[in-house]
Symmetry: C2
Subunit: 296 residues, 2 copies
């Protein structure tokens, strides 16, 4: 498969099938299942699971069932975080990807439980995946680290606390590294581990993830500051309304654009470093993730 568009087109239904099949088979309450599937089916770019699979393709590995299982577990965790993030007590969002948020459709109580269910199901799916036990334990360690109190959950807490005061650029970077960076980093590390790459390569993939994650966040901030609701499929200008520190608010629009460009350049350089170690490495698909973050 040479072409990114066909990679994406072929991978998406397999990731989605893995998530849907698991939820259908392992959920013992109909309304809960419906609430979980609603958010799983709400689409989105599937950025994180595609990254896992893109790493495998970069090393010329054809993804197997267990690779899709890990990719699906990661997307389930991302989806739970969106459901809880949208709750009235958190960001209080009514729209997500152009559709009413989970609690708007199923009520707050079921939205909380749908999130709890997806988080737990992600670990269940990873634990049941067809992977040799030592590697599986390592992946579960990394996933819980990325998703939890050293990663995403800590980042969300920092983000909340940041609404009440101005953050420095270093504090903002720290919040984002945890809130969005940690799951992106997991995607790259997991891809490298599943592709059975040496530690040196997995470490470089982790560095690539840092640049990609930061670029992703700066782009997200820029979109929130400059897009319309119709373009984005969710409420915009929320950051400003909440008086949140963002890259545009700290660096100005031009400064944020320059910071984005710098991260994309560093990301490309890191892919070059992987190529120097591993001659089989084909950076095209991972480069494409950077390309998509360039300002149009």
């Amino acid at each position: 498969m040479e072409d990114f568009t066909s990679f994406r087109k072929q991978s998406l239904p397999l990731i989605e099938k893995e998530m849907e099949d698991f939820i259908n088979q392992y959920t013992a309450n109909e309304q809960l299942k419906e609430a979980m599937l609603y958010s799983i089916r709400a689409g989105g770019k599937r950025f994180r699971p595609l990254l896992v699979l893109a790493v495998l393709h970069s090393f010329d590995r054809h993804p197997q069932t267990h690779d899709y299982q890990i990719a699906a577990a990661l997307e389930m965790i991302h989806t739970y975080s969106l459901i809880h993030d949208d709750l009235p007590a958190m960001d209080d969002d009514d729209l997500r990807r152009g559709k009413p948020t989970n609690h708007k459709v199923f009520g707050e109580a079921h939205a909380i439980l749908a999130g709890d269910g997806l988080l737990t199901a992600a670990f269940q799916l990873a634990a049941l995946s067809r992977i040799q036990s030592d590697q599986k334990v390592l992946l579960i360690q990394l996933l819980s680290k990325a998703a939890g109190t050293q990663g995403m959950v800590a980042g969300q807490a920092g983000d909340l606390q940041g609404e009440k005061r101005s953050l420095t650029l270093a504090e903002l970077a720290n919040v984002h590294e945890k809130k969005t960076g940690a799951l992106i980093e997991f995607a790259l590390l997991a891809g490298g581990i599943l592709a059975e790459q040496p530690e040196e390569v997995v470490d470089l993939l982790g560095i690539f993830a840092k640049h990609l994650g930061l670029a992703f966040q700066i782009k997200d901030d820029l979109l929130d500051a400059t897009s319309s609701e119709a373009e984005l499929g969710k409420q915009v200008g929320r950051d400003e309304a909440l008086n949140k520190s963002t890259y545009p608010s700290l660096l100005g629009l031009d400064g944020a654009k320059a910071a984005l460009a710098e991260q994309l350049t560093l990301g490309t350089k890191t892919l070059g470093s992987v190529k120097e170690i591993s001659s089989e490495f084909q950076p095209a698909f991972l480069q494409e993730f950077l390309n998509q973050l360039h300002l149009s």
Copy 2:
């Protein structure tokens, strides 16, 4: 250690230390850490982790660090479920164990995140525990099954849905089997696995757990219907106010008391069956958990 009281007294600080040390070491946000520790420190009977350790003692095993790690992971999951259960959108409770609930102290957003953090940290602790990989994977599979969409989360959804209509006795038993029974079952299964018992014994421990779990729930319903707030350290009469089906509402007070007594008898019988298979088995500590549920 021959005596249940000294077993309890020696075990509790070790379970609590395992939870506190892990949260202190693995939480990268101070307010989040404070919110998590608040609920962990709010006490409670530590019923579930003590059950894990009681099984080990029943087979004359002295609990090791990894046993406390699994017991602590289980209690962290129980604690997260209480935090989310108490939220305004769920049971809307102001008091828990005689203290203000988590969201009353830290706000709803941090309470949601403290719950998410404890749930994820439980899997992280289990994944990092000093246990051989195959056994660790099995324990994580069972824990995620018990805590998630086949167990506790499904039970909480069923419980919520039950507030809106009358449940039959079979439906009520099904909700409770998931909501409170699944984690209790995990405690017994995990204890049996950690004590390296054969499948036949682990299965019987699972049956014992069903009787214990059901007895526990009937007793809880009876306490809610008949105690004062001062006695219980939380709001009482909530079930009736929410028009929830309970054992007393379906069977009457006397019928519920008889059902409780029956489950306790069946639990004792099951312990006898374990003893028949395994002569080293000393049922005294597990019997004590039944004894404590007898009506005083």
